[in-house]
Amino acid sequence: MENLEIEGSHKNFFIPTVSFNAKTGICEISGESFLEDTVEFYKQIVEWLERYIDEVKGPIAFIVKLSYFNTSTSRSLLDILNLLKDYEDEGGEVVVNWHFDENDVDMEEDIDDYIIDTGLDINKIPY
């Protein structure tokens, strides 16, 4: 299975950097997320994860290092986390590490809300 690599940019829209490794299961998303078509962008990520879960059946370490995302993105992130929770419930090995600026109170609240919403153990890592 191929890795998923997307180079981020900060132009008219903000594209996050995506680096999902099919061998190690380390899946990192970083930068900022404000996209022209949020659903279309995150569809490829969800589809990659679904294929990995289906074919590789390996562990997944989902690493989030987003300094900003808009509310459309926040829905797509919820879809990803729900998918990971389902995988975990079916016996998959899942770790979620969420890095955030320790001064960004709003971001920490967002992470807490995802923990409540999904039931996943998300590790909050301040920097």
Binding site: N12, F34, E36, Y68, T71, S72, S74, R75, D113
Partner: protein, 180 residues
Amino acid sequence: MNTAENAYQMYIDLIDSTIISYNGPFDAQVLSVIAENIEYSLSNNPRVSKKLFKIFIELAQNISYYSAERQKNDEGNLYGVGILMLREFKDHYSFSTGNLIEKKHILPVIQKCETINILDRQKLRQYKRKLRNMPSGVPGGGNIGLVQVALTADYPLEYSVVPVDDENSFYILNVRVNKN
């Protein structure tokens, strides 16, 4: 002061306080230029700059998607038209937006604003989670942009709706962010 002097004082106050003002379609290019301006104008206060940026994106997207007045940009795509102002006062910044809204959408929008304003922060976070689990794309429905605006501003939303004609009204929203 006579009327002319009043008008002049109003003009001076407006010029002095205004950081950004825009009237037109809210396409990607415009969003990008204004977002850059916000970051640049407030680079000495990164925390507030980030808050204003977050609020701006959601307000601008609401106009872009939901304004009843639509205009083609240079590439021929239709975008919602509206006005936006960012002004600076002694202890706060203030975002004001205005756009036309179809009469049938007034009630859901007002209900949304009222709901947001009566909820405390914890309840507002619950409301956001509830909306986020609902389908999006319905005006006044699953859209969580306005809830995020209220959470980020940490202030109630100030809004008013002014009748324009048989079909449309003008919807004005004001959002404050403290400097400290």
